[in-house]
């Protein structure tokens, strides 16, 4: 088995596609938000790798064609954004104010949590950029003396939470406008949340991708200030 795996160039990609197909199948059968394809696929993969004692780095290397597409897919988010340009221009102020408020809320809550639990500085700054996209967040954590891998895990888990709860949160807070929904999801749960926003609608998806970029930039400016308090 392990000999085959180390010789085969495609198993990681194939396993990822199979896991995601399984996730979609379970999602269709149950129709429950908790049975999210991304979550099911990831849980299945973790279980499979652990049971077969396959080290994660080996899987990661073999699944690199999948991760490779992340960059072009993120850049392509410019397309829905371009198609929704008028909506963006008309509501520019509300959108910017919303993303700023959300980013301050995120950083403020983490600072409070860190103070209450007396977290070590390294742990606290690793949690700070948890709502922004991995690439920006990991750079911020490294810059501030945090643990970059811990930050990336927090970012990924935050994205999963946002992806799972996005529709419910919009209900709880009575957010009905597609632009407001998209901006909220993107600010709170970056690209993984955006994957959900894209499924909710074109406007949601476009606004969510915009929020990823803007929230990332605002966090890059505010996080160093917050880091000096914890």
């Amino acid at each position: 088995m392990s000999e085959f795996l180390s010789q085969s160039a495609v198993w990681g990609t194939l396993l990822t596609l199979a896991a995601y197909a399984l996730g979609m199948w379970v999602n269709r059968k149950t129709g429950k938000a908790l049975c999210n394809p991304l979550l099911i696929a990831s849980v299945f993969l973790i279980a499979f790798l652990s049971l077969c004692r396959i080290p994660y780095p080996e899987y990661k290397a073999s699944a690199s064609p999948i991760s490779y597409l992340l960059l072009p897919a993120t850049v392509s988010l410019a397309i829905p954004l371009y198609e929704k340009w008028e909506l963006l221009e008309k509501n520019a102020l509300a959108i910017l104010a919303g993303i700023f408020t959300g980013t301050v809320t995120s950083i403020g809550c983490i600072v409070l949590t860190a103070l209450v639990f007396r977290l070590d500085h390294a742990y606290a700054v690793s949690l700070l950029p948890k709502s922004v996209t991995t690439a920006i967040g990991m750079d911020i954590a490294k810059e501030l003396g945090g643990i970059a891998t811990l930050t990336s895990a927090m970012i990924v888990l935050t994205g999963i939470v946002g992806n799972l709860l996005a529709e419910s949160i919009c209900k709880w807070f009575r957010i009905t406008d597609p632009t407001a929904r998209g901006i909220g999801i993107g600010t709170g749960s970056h690209a993984i949340g955006t994957a959900k926003a894209l499924q909710m609608g074109e406007t949601e998806g476009a606004m969510s991708s915009l929020a990823i970029a803007v929230a990332g930039l605002i966090t890059a400016v505010l996080a160093p200030i917050a880091a000096s308090w914890i």
């Binding site: 899987y59 990661k60 072009p72 897919a73 410019a78 198609e83 977290l119 990924v156 709880w172 890059a220």
Partner: protein, 119 residues
């Protein structure tokens, strides 16, 4: 061939993004530079929508799946996460809910739309 060329154009903007990321000393990832540059190119009509549309739509459709390898990476970090479990759970659940909710409410009320009460 049309789709290959569309994909090539998108990759060209990825490369431009990587170049800016290398040249500028800011903590902004290549993907955000690429996104902004493609948006500008579309706005300024350097690239027409039809020249990237289908390939871009395909990439958006498979977007959630692309995160599976990264999410599975969490399996290597149970130790660190368990050590600060309660702050981690607070950061994950209530904070994320608050951020999405407050952001959405702020945008919605500033846009001055009428709310539909029965959602």
């Amino acid at each position: 061939m049309k789709y290959i060329f569309q994909f090539a154009r998108i990759l060209a903007f990825c490369a431009l993004g990587e170049l800016l990321h290398m040249l500028l000393p800011l903590p902004i990832p290549a993907s955000v530079y690429g996104l902004v540059q493609l948006l500008l190119a579309l706005k300024l009509r350097i690239v027409a929508l039809e020249q990237v549309k289908e390939a871009g739509t395909f990439l958006s459709a498979i977007f959630p799946m692309l995160f599976v390898p990264a999410v599975a990476g969490v399996m290597e970090l149970w130790g660190d996460l368990a050590r600060i479990l309660i702050p981690v759970l607070i950061a994950l659940f209530p904070v994320t809910v608050l951020v999405i909710g407050i952001t959405g409410r702020t945008v919605q009320s500033l846009m001055g739309r009428k709310e539909k009460e029965h959602v």
